[in-house]
Amino acid sequence: MPEPMASEAVSNCFGCAPTNDIGLQLLFEQAGDTCSARVRLGSDYESFPGIIHGGIVAAIMDETMAQTVYRSGRVAAFTIGLRIRYGRPMETDTEYLASAEITGRGDCSVRVSGRLELPSGDLVAASDGTFYLLTDPALRDSGPRSPEQLRQALSARRRPAARDSAARALDNQQEGMVR
């Protein structure tokens, strides 16, 4: 999830929060419409010995695509569709590059494609995702189905004249991840 959702000043996102000790702690770079992060994981995330769990690979791709959506329009989004195709195992203690780019836009959704590859370019996994934009109208329409904590955090970020300290801190943290 690209946009920190906690009402506290510190996000605890499994994908990108630097303070989540069990998270992936992905640090993203942006170049045009592409977003990328280097990732190296240890045996805490493996399935078979030496092999990163396939669900973790999916989480890496989901996070990378979601970050790409967020950074393209400064609007957070929910994943509503995710397809992962695996080309070869992701190994522990090896550096990989996760990247994603936007491939299509609808009225309320964005389509993204991603890749996880070795520095040599060898493909580990390919992903396609559809993301539902959490715009103000979308949040209003979803009404009580959206967790209150989420609606408060997102709404606070969109009020320039009345931003509270938590919202500013969330933005600062998010910007700090763009190197």
Binding site: R85, Y86, G87, R88, D122, L123, V124, A126
Partner: protein, 87 residues
């Protein structure tokens, strides 16, 4: 339509050859994918992704196991392109 089908088949061969790093002449319709040089699961995925992008189609995951020859893969791509054109 025949010419278009021929183009699709030829472009499919080009994609396979490019991804495997082999001459197009080595990729014939009766070639078994598994017996082509440099084939592994990563390159098969790259072939599928390149083919999807080239023809704006979506290939199901099961194809990796169901399709044995280049000709069968070409047939599938032609079929998907025709489905795409009719929608």
């Amino acid at each position: 339509m025949d010419l278009q089908v021929t183009d699709i088949r030829q472009q499919t061969v080009s994609i396979i050859a490019e991804q495997l790093g082999i001459p197009e002449g080595e990729v014939t319709p009766d070639s078994h994918f598994r017996s082509l040089p440099n084939v592994d699961s990563m390159r098969v995925l790259q072939v599928i992704l390149k083919t999807e992008k080239a023809f704006a189609i979506e290939i199901s995951d099961e194809v990796t196991f169901q399709v044995e020859t280049v000709g069968e893969f070409q047939d599938l791509v032609v079929e998907l392109c025709e489905q795409q054109a009719s929608t």
